[in-house]
Symmetry: C2
Subunit: 235 residues, 2 copies
């Protein structure tokens, strides 16, 4: 297997603002990027179309979309239609938390990384705005890396894995500024937890509000909202 010619990385890519910025970051670090998206029965399947677009735009070597229905797990507003996506922030861990989601996604990325002889796994986790999610914290990512290096042939043989989360300590405004500097077109990214049937953001969920605040704090307009709609724009 020819592995010296390129430095490979797996990039978890949802098609949202954070993961698209992370892909751009990995490409700017000259990684040959293998993008991994999980089709897990999320409400916002329109994300996958955005992920495809981002993978193509950033020259991913391969973009793997893995079907993994997580509706049987239950317990989250993102996978269980019986639980409403809230329109206002709540204290503590939000109901949009999907049990062990980042653990599952990173585990799949780890399997692919080992098979490809890639040793860097990029994830758009962010501990500032999303501090309610336990699996977006540096301590979790460090524990995952420690576990990964005991779990795998590569880890045991001295070729350790690194979990890279370049956005972990940035505010949403800093992420947007970073992405724009790298050349990300945010018009193509989608962040909403409950977009309408056409894929337009609701404007009210946690994710929409964080994104809006990020663009406002950066003193910028969100290009994803500057489109023409037959019905006159966002609700």
């Amino acid at each position: 297997m020819c592995v010296d010619a390129e430095r490979r990385a797996i990039v978890l890519l949802s098609g949202g603002l954070d993961s698209t910025t992370t892909l751009a970051w990995a490409r700017h670090e000259s990684y040959a990027c293998y993008a991994l998206s999980i089709d897990y029965g999320q409400r916002h399947a329109v994300e996958l179309a955005a992920a495809r677009q981002a993978a193509a735009a950033w020259g991913a070597v391969q973009h793997q979309i893995v079907p993994l229905d997580m509706r049987w797990v239950g317990g989250s507003a993102l996978t269980d239609r019986a639980i409403e996506v809230p329109v206002h922030s709540s204290k503590g861990i939000p109901v949009t938390y999907v049990p062990a989601r980042n653990t599952i996604f990173l585990a799949l990325a780890l399997g692919w990384a080992e098979a490809l002889d890639a040793h860097d796994i990029f994830i758009g986790a962010n501990a500032v705005d999303y501090s309610g999610y336990p699996d977006c914290r540096p301590a979790f990512l460090e524990a995952f890396a420690a576990m990964a290096n005991l779990a795998t042939k590569a880890g045991v043989e001295g070729r350790p894995f690194r979990i890279r989360a370049p956005l972990i300590a940035m505010s949403k405004a800093e992420i947007i500024q970073t992405g724009l500097r790298l050349g990300v077109d945010y018009a193509g990214t989608i962040s909403c937890y409950s977009p309408d049937a056409q894929g337009y953001p609701c404007g009210h969920c946690d994710s929409c509000r964080l994104r809006a605040k990020g663009f406002a704090d950066a003193g910028l307009a969100d290009p994803a909202l500057s489109f023409d709609r037959a019905d006159g724009g966002n609700k």
Copy 2:
């Protein structure tokens, strides 16, 4: 949610000798068992039928079979038909190793555990006979538990998860003796990496040979081999 009435556990159940014994163990510890099988494109899909039979026999509250095609990962004789299952043991980590398999399976179990408010996850990992697999070692399982308790809402809120591997230090003969004492019917379990189209074991792969040695060391006949076949028995 009523959780006081029962002590719940997730049991990873392949339908093989080890995981069936583990399910029996968890039932003998009076856990309400939620059995989890992963249909991952393995060569030995006949395992899933054995898993169904074991889940029913041991009164699992629920048996969830999750389709997760892992053939795209590649890199293993168990998921990639281009790689032959070896008929003789090799030194080091065998080609039947599936990259990050136990990490992925435990991650799915963790998600389900959190949604069900279960805090014990049972896995039939064994470090003695399968010492070639890095993700069957106690150090890996401990690192997974540490990571799980940082990854999850339950872990963060002080309701930690335990990864239980009751067979981890047993020889295959000890596992068989333990299972028989618990009442396991090994006629229904399948361990072969490459059974024939009817589900009969090959008798030659690592897994068949370990199983045969286990029964021989225990001074017992393998009941899975004492069936009538039109062609006169195992090849």
